[in-house]
Amino acid sequence: MIPTIGHASILVGLALSAYAVVAHLLAARGGDPRIASSGRRAVIGSFVAAGIACAAMVLSLLSHDFSVVYVAENNATSTPPFISAISLWAALEGSILFWTLLATGWAGLVLHRYRDRHRALMPWVGATLAAINGFFFMVMTWPGNPFARTDPVAAEGLGPNALLQNHPFMALHPPLLYLGYTGLAVAFAFGIAALATRRLDEEWLRIVRRWTIIPWIFLTLGIVAGAWWSYEVLGWGGYWAWDPVENAALLPWLTATAFLHSIMVAERRGGLRIWTGAMVIATFVLTLVGTFLTRSGVVASVHSFTQSAIGPWFLAAIVVALAGSLTLLVWRLPELAGGGRPSGTVSRESAFLLNNVLFLGLTFAVLFGTLLPLIMLAVGGEQISVGAPWFDTVTVPIFIALLFLMGVGPALPWGTAGWTTLRQRFSLPLVVAAAVTAGATIAGLREIGPLGTLGLAVFVGSIMVDEVVRGARARARGRGEHPATATWRLTTRNRRRYGGYSVHVGVLVMAVGVAVSSGLATDRTVTIGPGETAGIGAYEITNDRLVVEPLAADPRVIETRAELTYAGPQAGTLATALRDYPNSPTAIATPAVRTSLGEDLYVTLLASDASSGVVTLHLFVNPLVVWIWIGGGIVGIGAGFAAWPERRTRPAVQPVPDSAPRPAAVETVEGA
């Protein structure tokens, strides 16, 4: 009964989406305004339908209804309720269902929120979003039916993927990532609407900026949470492997980030409108390409989503989205060209331009590396794929250049920068960075990568601190405010700028974390008997005892656990285990991670001998890893701060081309 309701809801969702496309297109052609609102209600109805289908799936999972193939393959009678519930997104069909829920949710939210505004744009936005939603309902109706039934019904299911049971982060990482992916469709829909109605104006820029930054926050947090999950669960001591699935999330992130920067030039100085439109399209198409690559089985990935019939459907969607949006863009090219005000070689515009070139370079590099197996196949050559070292070699120089630009760009004035300005802005930060780098060298840091990154990060960070301090001081003096009040008012009056700075600080923190943890990590494999001790770095690890027993939470899982004592900069006891799940012939490692602000002690159990109690351990000391997660959090907070609506305290001020960044300048007044 419940699976039937779920399946019926999908059909209803498909019908409502199809209706919504037609209704919105009619409204766009100047039909009765009531038809637009009926289209809007149909989109909200499709969200409800997706919600019912998701609820039906969760109920089927919770009640272990093995007549549903998806449940039989991803659930067992002993699966705890929490794991059952999050199994909604543990495999292909369920994740598409969940994806549809989020996509229809965003669409409903946007159409509802702007129901009385942007009358010319909204019918096109509605039609585009409903078409995208319709595509997902189609996938679930034909090739990827999540409610496909099986007969005879098995008495027991296969159980969820053991890896997914092992860490609560699995409840967090996919929803964040999917919220990002699906949200980017909104920006794309506004792009299509603006091209269709010839309204790529300031109003459009403001809406699209907002609807890119919100999904961007989720995408960023989703990527960081995924890296963290990989670090805490997989037991290889790392967090990023340039796997196609990781790249698939990174690619739209790169173009969305490029867009968030180029749009500032478009808003302030005019121009770059073709480019900005192209970035919006590229970002959305890349979310589809990423899904296609990882879900269709055309590229080998450790995430190994099974080969499935949805590949051709996604390919068709990519072709339609790409061809349709490109045609629109090319059609409007003559109207979009030009319009920018001229600027000097050294200016904030040129910094933004360079920023976009670098981001696009990164996108191409990552795309090329990911697609290389397909490229070679297509030209009939040998099969080749590239691994992490290739990606590192190609991307690290670009990342470093971006770091540098991150500090220099925002400190440059719009228009043209003179020597005096440059000297004023950069001499103090340069001195501070040189001093810190020298200090770190004296303190014993000799590796060029971590040292250089640290110096660069300090340089960039002090440019920003310097600017905030000078701005706050000027405000405090001018208005007689307390320095803290002045700082708060300065930053909240210009959330975009200072939120952006905070994002940059988060990125700097992450960069130092990545450079130091990858450059200075140490690891070794040791085999020690009971009572014996092995050392790594400043730590001593003692093998206390080996325990083999069923897991309390799920007695079918046998845990082989090494209980250890560690002493050094951190001290205490830890347990690292291999868990034998009934549905996995491979034991799942549960690494023990002892985190401190300075370094992580990371221990995994590789092998053990139950009779003698001898254990083989992989020991890592990973410095500063925690700062990568902290940096990710700072990025999220900063972006949230920037996206927060500014108070409408004064009428919209026309952008004034100023010769220097005035800290208290009003850049925009949020209307979205």
Partner: protein, 179 residues
């Protein structure tokens, strides 16, 4: 033609190659890689079995042998081909030596796999640091190499073996009289 007309070329110029590229992926298993080893001498190696006994390629010389790279984590392919390997060992074990080599796996997991899915009795060897896998050019398990009595690689199976494929590959290394 004017620039205004030429700009329309942008659409096919971008859409066609991208479609072609993505289309190329269909119908190919990304994990299948042809081996340059076929027709050449099999790499030499020395290692120990899971039981700890030393063994090397010299010990197998003079008889056809099969080298099966597998791992307990390779699901479901290694489970699928497991009975095929066992049956071949049962039927031809007197004429063909079979060895399994653990690909990036631990003896703990391998033992557990064999306990669960059956141990046909042929030896399974450790591959410390993946040296043997690298010499054979193994991309991912399961991969199986068929070596004749002269030590020449005659066939390679990428992915799980099925009974028919097993028979075809075996035919390339068995002496003619005994086929």
């Amino acid at each position: 033609m004017s620039l205004r007309t030429l700009r329309w070329l942008l659409v096919p110029l971008l859409v066609v190659p991208i479609t072609w590229l993505l289309l190329a992926g269909f119908g190919h298993d990304p994990r299948v890689v042809a081996s340059p080893l076929i027709g050449r001498p099999a790499p030499a190696w020395e290692t120990v079995t899971m039981a700890g006994e030393p063994i090397g390629s010299d010990d197998l010389a003079g008889r056809p042998y099969i080298v099966n790279f597998w791992a307990s984590w390779c699901l479901p392919a290694c489970v699928d081909e497991h009975p095929v390997l066992a049956a071949a060992h049962e039927a031809h074990g007197d004429r063909v030596t079979m060895v399994g080599i653990l690909f990036d796996d631990t003896p703990h997991d391998a033992r557990r796999f064999l306990d669960r899915y059956g141990d046909a009795g042929y030896p399974h060897l450790l591959d410390d640091r993946g040296a043997i896998s690298i010499d054979f050019g193994v991309v991912g398990p399961p991969e199986t190499f068929f070596v004749d009595a002269d030590g020449i690689v005659r066939a390679k199976q990428t992915g799980p073996l099925e009974p028919q494929g097993m028979d075809e590959h075996l035919a390339t290394i068995l002496p003619r009289a005994s086929r």
